[in-house]
């Protein structure tokens, strides 16, 4: 069974690549990922292996996967070694205006003949939904990060300064009395 989802992200391709190629980030944006752990010494790139598990229906399915294609900043593909038979691919293509089209393709196949085929079909909407939500989450994170990097310069032209400790406290007031939290007894009496 083949699932392909895609989205346009208003972030340059290299930035998207840096994010998805960093295995430590994977756990943050793939929805339903219950397990994601590096196996072996290789931390990333071609040949890196990960033990993964994704909640599909009542149980966590997955197994050991290996990166089989690592072509920055275009394509990243993996293949299952043990567990559920699967292949997957991240495909990044530039869009006009500096954005990136991110495509995520996953092909999986359950063993067990007819029952396996039925399970494939039943799992399809679940997998599609989770992958689409993952892409949406990726888009949200990348664009938020890009906005945060550009905002201070756009407003003042100077780097944003950290507010002083306790600066926001005066604004928080008790709903009934209208007194500021942290006010001393003397202030209350007065």
């Amino acid at each position: 069974m083949r699932v392909a989802v895609e989205t346009d992200v208003a972030v340059p391709r290299q930035a998207v690549w840096d994010y998805i190629a960093d295995a430590d980030q994977t756990f943050d944006f793939i929805v339903g990922l219950g397990r994601w752990k590096r196996e072996g010494k290789k931390h990333g790139g071609l040949g890196a292996r990960y033990r993964m598990g994704m909640q599909v229906g009542s149980v966590e399915l997955g197994g050991l996967v290996e990166i089989v294609e690592f072509d920055p900043p275009h394509d990243l593909a993996w293949s299952g070694i043990t567990g559920v038979e699967q292949r997957g691919r991240w495909r990044l293509r530039p869009r006009k205006g500096g954005g990136t089209r991110v495509e995520l393709r996953v092909t999986y196949h359950a063993p067990g003949g007819l029952m396996g085929s039925i399970a494939d079909v039943v799992a399809l909407p679940i997998v599609t939904r989770e992958l689409q939500r993952s892409l949406d989450e990726l888009k949200r994170r990348l664009e938020k990060r890009a906005r945060e990097r550009t905002r201070p310069a756009a407003r003042t032209g100077a780097p944003r300064q950290r507010p002083k400790k306790g600066a926001g406290r005066a604004r928080r007031r008790h709903r009934r009395t209208g007194l500021a939290f942290g006010a001393t007894c003397r202030e209350v009496v007065a």
Binding site: G57, S58, G63, A110, P111, G113, M115, G116
Partner: protein, 272 residues
């Protein structure tokens, strides 16, 4: 009187990971669509080596908790990891045992088989309550009842393997279990003939009144929730020579607390 059961056979060679893999989709469909199962805490099971998984048994002879947990275990750790389950001698005599249970890793319940499974480095699932617990009345659904059996503790202590409790709820709602029928079993001498402590009486599909549950039944689609608890280290808690009654009370108490918590999560019978 000598039991009429045949001698315990060697089932260990029958386990076949390919068979396990082939059956996973069917089990997944049943667990996900029919029983809407939820399995939590598998990460608490040691990733490698022998481990004794101690569960509370529910659902009569069609115990769905067993196959749902077997599915979750094999899906999580892979069908390659050796995993055995102990089953009553009578269950292993049923025709389905030959083509389904034995290749899945089920072996006849005996201390010798249990020791052998742990010695070979396998994960072993035991239900100390066995037939006594799985046929308890539905009103005792949220009760752990091992009938005072403690052999599993000695077994794990001797083999020096971690004991991991596995608690499940929902199985007792797959039929209306009315009584264990202990008196009836005693009267018919089933204990001596077949090592059966019970002759359960239930209302179950498609039979209506179901006595004995020998042919199984069609389970109602009750929501099954399974939770794996933290491993219990009896060496650390009770020393090298523990009092077995204290240790048993401790383990059963931990499981009972978890089961009571799972019970409070359920709002309706069957629906969960």
């Amino acid at each position: 009187m000598k039991p009429l059961l045949p001698p315990i056979r060697d089932d260990f060679e029958d386990r076949d990971p390919d068979h396990v893999r082939t059956w996973l989709p069917f089990l997944w469909l049943m667990a996900s669509l029919y029983f809407r199962a939820e399995v939590r805490g598998l990460q608490k099971i040691p990733r490698k080596g022998p481990v004794l998984l101690v569960g509370n048994h529910s659902g009569g002879n069609m115990a769905p908790d067993t196959f749902i947990f077997a599915l979750a275990f094999s899906a999580y750790f892979g069908a390659e990891r050796p995993f055995h389950q102990l089953a009553h001698s009578l269950v292993m005599l049923m025709p389905q045992a030959r083509w389904w249970l034995r290749p899945y890793g089920t072996v006849t319940a005996s201390p010798k088989n249990a020791q052998r499974a742990l010695r070979t480095g396998a994960a072993l699932l035991v239900y100390p309550g066995g037939d006594y617990e799985t046929h308890r009345p539905s009103c005792e659904s949220a009760r752990v009842d091992f009938a005072g059996r403690r052999g599993f503790l000695r077994l794990a202590h001797r083999a020096k393997v971690p004991r991991v409790p596995v608690v499940s709820i929902g199985g007792q709602e797959t039929a209306l279990f009315l009584s264990r029928g202990e008196s009836l079993a005693k009267l018919l001498r089933l204990d001596r003939l077949f090592r059966l402590k019970v002759l359960p009486i239930s209302l179950a599909l498609p039979w209506g009144l179901n006595v004995g549950d020998m042919l199984g039944h069609l389970p109602l689609p009750a929501k099954i929730t399974i939770e794996v608890l933290d491993p219990i280290d009896l060496h650390r808690l009770f020393g090298d020579r523990p009092s077995w009654s204290e240790a048993s009370d401790y383990v059963v108490g931990k499981m009972q607390d978890a089961l009571t918590r799972l019970r409070t999560e359920r709002r309706f019978p069957v629906l969960g």
